[in-house]
């Protein structure tokens, strides 16, 4: 044991491994981590307060810009919130289309993460190859609405873009090509020895700790608990035979496998939804101003997204509270890190998929636009 002093190592906010800015202060005793303190708030933009100043239709565009990778699901959650507050029932075809695009977002996000994790662990050409396959998905998004990242098809009351036969067959064809490409490199994550030596047995999060500290997403699913918001059957998930994927290993390798299997599952869900797509209109208009209090929880690639909205029958919302999935994953992270070596920090921190730009805060907005 040490004779007194602990070394403090700051990790972040800029680090080659981190996609976003977060700072963790490690108190280290000769290679073993003893304590961790987080420091957040580098990407603070005042979205909740701006949401009160806007009228409720403009908030849709604001909420879509909270995060770059998972923007489609933010938009759909907000639109679902307002639809419930105004008692609007969206058509079934709109629900299927929203589901398809949410799965495209999930696919794109998991491929991004797999590439970044591979690079964090040391596999650079794997990163290049996975991101090249991700380009297929982005070109698919561009063919849908002209933009690669911000799809922009959600409106309050449905969607504003329809998928005709040509686009549907392009989706199905591209999903088959993607499956073939993913099969090429999927075994690296499952069987490669140097990869496994960095992930198996690292960052253990036991079942009891996972529930008590409030973990969400693949972090908790890798500890054997089948918690997935899609199981509740919102949008069209109830009709697509969805089952959450769990692993029992409670370590970093479990999280990698959960995300890899979810990539395959997303491809399957997209194909199934396109084949089952029903006919009908794609949008309806709402009939009154939002009124009442609603809670809506959906599943982002990183976990459970929580929206709380309160309206008072006028054109402005009274309160909008957003809790993104990375926030509840930080306390488990602090528990996971204690006792490991300093060299294991990148892979453990990266295993919770930190998407810090999703963290939003409320503050007085001095000037807008």
């Amino acid at each position: 044991m040490s004779k007194g002093k602990l070394t403090t190592i700051p990790f972040g906010p800029q680090h080659p491994v981190l996609p976003e800015a977060v700072q963790l202060q490690f108190y280290v005793d000769e290679e073993k981590i003893v304590d961790v303190l987080p420091n957040l708030g580098y990407i603070h933009r005042g979205i909740e307060k701006a949401a009160e100043l806007n009228d409720y239709r403009r908030n849709l565009y604001l909420c879509e810009r909270i995060c770059g990778i998972c923007n489609i699901i933010h938009g759909q959650t907000y639109a679902g919130l307002i639809e419930k507050m105004t008692d609007t029932e969206i058509p079934i075809r709109a629900k299927y289309l929203r589901t398809i695009w949410a799965e495209v977002a999930r696919l794109q996000s998991h491929l991004l993460w797999l590439g970044l994790f591979g690079e964090a662990v040391g596999f650079e050409s794997l990163f290049m190859k996975i991101w090249k396959d991700r380009e297929l998905v982005l070109e698919l998004t561009e063919a849908t609405n002209g933009h690669r990242v911000h799809l922009g098809t959600t409106v309050i009351g449905g969607v504003n873009k329809d998928m005709d036969g040509k686009l549907q067959s392009r989706y199905l064809k591209d999903m088959d090509i993607l499956t073939k490409e993913v099969n090429d490199w999927a075994d690296v994550f499952r069987k490669d020895k140097s990869f496994l030596s960095k992930t198996v047995g690292m960052g253990i999060l036991s079942k009891k700790d996972a529930i008590h500290s409030g973990a969400v997403g693949p972090v908790i699913r890798a500890s054997g608990i089948p918690q997935d918001m899609r199981n509740n059957g919102y949008e069209a998930y109830g009709e697509l035979d969805f089952e959450p994927i769990t692993y029992d290993t409670c370590d970093v390798q479990g999280r990698v496998l959960v995300r890899l299997d979810e990539t395959y599952q997303s491809i399957e869900l997209i194909k199934r939804a396109i084949k089952q797509l029903p006919q009908g209109p794609i949008a309806v208009k709402n009939e009154k101003f939002p009124d009442g209090e609603v809670i809506y929880r959906t599943e982002q690639p990183r976990g459970e997204l929580f929206y709380y909205g309160k309206g008072d029958g006028s054109i402005h919302l009274e309160r909008l509270r957003i809790r993104t999935p990375t926030i509840p994953n930080i306390p488990p992270l602090l528990g996971m890190l204690v006792g490991h070596n300093v060299a294991d920090i990148p892979s453990i921190v990266h295993s919770i998929d930190p998407c810090m730009s999703c963290t939003e805060r409320i503050t007085d907005v001095k000037e807008m636009a």
């Binding site: 708030g41 100043l53 008590h212 409030g214 208009k285 709402n286 609603v294 929880r297 809790r323 409320i362």
Partner: protein, 600 residues
């Protein structure tokens, strides 16, 4: 299946600071998962905390309102994961937590300004462009709520549309036939040359109401009687409008009218083929009966002092009836009529004077068109209208001029009368003119062409070049330099307790402008008598009006045509030649409206 979205969440337990920790221990025992804490300011001093937990697939919420200045007990002893939410609340809402496990002391968020997060009324920093009234409504002198009644006609509810119009313009059945419709010129679809036929929709609302109800009289209750008495002098649109509004506010109104019928300029000025007199009388009597006003026909009021002894306030709406002179030699010859005498004889007394075979009408306004078309229907073969400017500068409505041309009336532009030679037939010398410099109304002043002119023969000449107000001196009100009653902006005259409005104050204008004056004066009189007056036309931000969605289908709909008889059928008699729009056509026309007052 369970949808993870709940509306009107119930607060399972309202917590107090004492019960906070025991509730949390209880939840931990049940294995609840901590979701988040939502914080909201409820006033300057209090803050509301909501704790959200997930227990077996559904969300439970706990609610606590505490003052901001005392430290709040932290729950990190029980749920360590709450430290992020509590630090966030510390930074942003300026509250403090005690026993916080990881306390970053208000420095978690990298922001060193101290924000105030009290919810302000959010007109915010986005451009504060709120709801508009609609261009049609802004063009109407009386600010009738046009977009609203167009929507009510679209739903097929003429009663609601009738009541909406009555709030500001009490005579919809008449206006639907005679109004010059400035709203239609304000319609934004004028740019695509397809404005909404608002006047026809108003008429279809009134006629639809009459059909549903068996008459134009409604069953309404006025406000409680105030015991005050108001005299209204003049039974034209301004007088009847003021009597209606004042009666609704609870005052006892007596209306004095010099002629034997109500209507004023509507009675003598508007021909029977445009406004049948039974419709006019029915509507005017319906309004006066609804409010219990007393009508005294055939009574001319000369002395205001004596009259006002028995009343608490008075409104003068005596109108205008002095014709302008032709200002040329020989205008007093036999066979030269002024249009007021001519139209009164035909419209009010139902006479059919013999005008000979050729009639000349001098003038370019709506009255000249009325006179010419009336002469045509009396059997005259050759009717010619002479006007001193060009056709584009005629003040008459476009559809009146077009109707007159269709009925075979001739027009001669850029001619001014110079001299009338009496005899049988009369001879008139007309001087040719050319347009010169613009005068103060913006139209070009005609300049005579030296030496060019012609002499025209006619059996009768009708002069229709305008008319003005004559105020009897015995009334004792101040007049301005043009002979009209001098009234302030609130329509108060210089006499105590007397207001004035309509043609008598502003000169010959229109029915709808007189109704505007009637409403303003009624509001002012009510405030003088101790009431609250009538409300103004303002935007209502709480009304939800949706926009049109299928713009492409909407633009493809054509404008509804005015249903009229053919010209050769029209000139044979004085029947009303314009008919009401069929119900389904009215609904289609109303559905074309762009709803410029949208608020969604």
């Amino acid at each position: 299946m369970i949808y993870e979205i709940t509306k009107d969440i119930t607060y399972d337990r309202d917590m107090t600071p004492e019960t906070l920790l025991p509730t949390m221990e209880d939840l931990k025992g049940k294995g609840a998962r901590f979701l988040t804490i939502s914080v909201k300011d409820v006033s300057e001093t209090d803050v509301e905390l909501m704790y959200h937990y997930e227990i077996e697939d559904h969300v439970e919420n706990f609610h606590m309102v505490v003052p901001k200045d005392k430290p709040i007990q932290s729950i990190t002893g029980v749920y360590i994961a709450a430290f992020i939410a509590e630090n966030e609340a510390q930074d942003l809402f300026k509250v403090t937590f005690k026993d916080l496990a990881v306390d970053l002391g208000g420095k978690m968020l990298k922001d060193d300004i101290s924000p105030s997060t009290l919810l302000k009324s959010a007109t915010g920093s986005q451009p504060p462009i709120m709801r508009k009234l609609g261009k049609c409504r802004e063009e109407c002198p009386a600010m009738v709520n046009i977009p609203k009644y167009i929507r009510e006609v679209e739903t097929g509810d003429p009663t609601a549309a009738y009541n909406t119009i009555l709030d500001r313009a009490p005579i919809p059945a008449i206006l639907g036939r005679v109004c010059f419709a400035p709203c239609q010129e304000g319609c934004r679809q004028e740019q695509e040359t397809k404005p909404i036929q608002i006047r026809l929709l108003k008429r279809s609302a009134a006629d639809g109401f009459k059909e549903l109800n068996g008459g134009l009289k409604r069953d309404i209750t006025c406000k409680a009687a105030t015991g005050k008495k108001v005299a209204v002098i003049g039974g034209g649109p301004a007088g009847v409008g003021a009597a209606f509004h004042l009666g609704l506010l609870g005052h006892k109104v007596t209306l004095y009218e010099r002629a034997n019928t109500l209507g004023g300029a509507m009675a003598w000025g508007i021909p029977k083929y445009r406004l049948p007199k039974d419709v006019m009388n029915e509507e005017l009597m319906a309004r006066l009966d609804e409010v219990g006003a007393e009508v005294k026909l055939g009574v001319e009021v000369e002395d205001l002092d004596e009259l006002m002894n028995g009343y608490d306030a008075g409104f003068l709406a005596i109108g205008a009836d002095k014709c302008n002179s032709l200002r040329c030699e020989g205008e007093d010859s036999e066979g030269v009529l002024n249009f007021i005498d001519f139209l009164t004889a035909v419209n009010v007394r139902d006479e059919t004077p013999d005008l000979g075979n050729k009639v000349i009408v001098i003038g370019g306004g709506n009255s000249a068109m009325d006179a010419a078309r009336t002469a045509k229907r009396l059997g005259v073969e050759d009717v010619t209208v002479f006007y001193r400017r060009t056709q584009q500068e005629m003040p008459a409505s476009l559809h009146e001029v077009q109707g007159a041309m269709e009925e075979g009336i001739n027009f001669d532009f850029l001619s001014t009368q110079m001299k009338i030679t009496p005899g049988k037939p009369l001879k008139v010398y007309f001087q040719a003119m050319v347009p010169g410099e613009p005068d103060e109304s913006g139209r070009r002043r005609p300049v005579p062409v030296e030496g060019v002119g012609s002499t025209v023969e006619a059996d009768t000449i009708i002069s229709a070049i305008g008319y003005n107000v004559v105020v009897p001196a015995s009334m004792g009100v101040e007049v301005d330099r043009r002979g009209r009653i001098a009234a302030s902006e609130t329509l108060k005259t210089n006499r105590d307790k007397i207001w004035a409005g309509g043609d008598a104050v502003f000169g010959p204008t229109s029915v709808i402008a007189s109704l505007r004056d009637a409403r303003i004066a009624a509001s002012e009189i009510d405030k003088y008598l101790g009431g609250e007056g009538l409300d103004e036309a303002v935007v209502d931000l709480s009304e939800f009006v949706t926009r049109q969605v299928d713009i492409d289908d909407l633009m493809g709909l054509p404008q509804a045509n005015i249903p009229e008889l053919f010209p050769d059928e029209r000139v044979t008699s004085f029947i009303e030649f314009e008919q009401c729009l069929a119900k389904d056509l009215a609904v289609t026309e109303a559905s074309r409206c762009w709803r410029c007052d949208w608020n969604e």
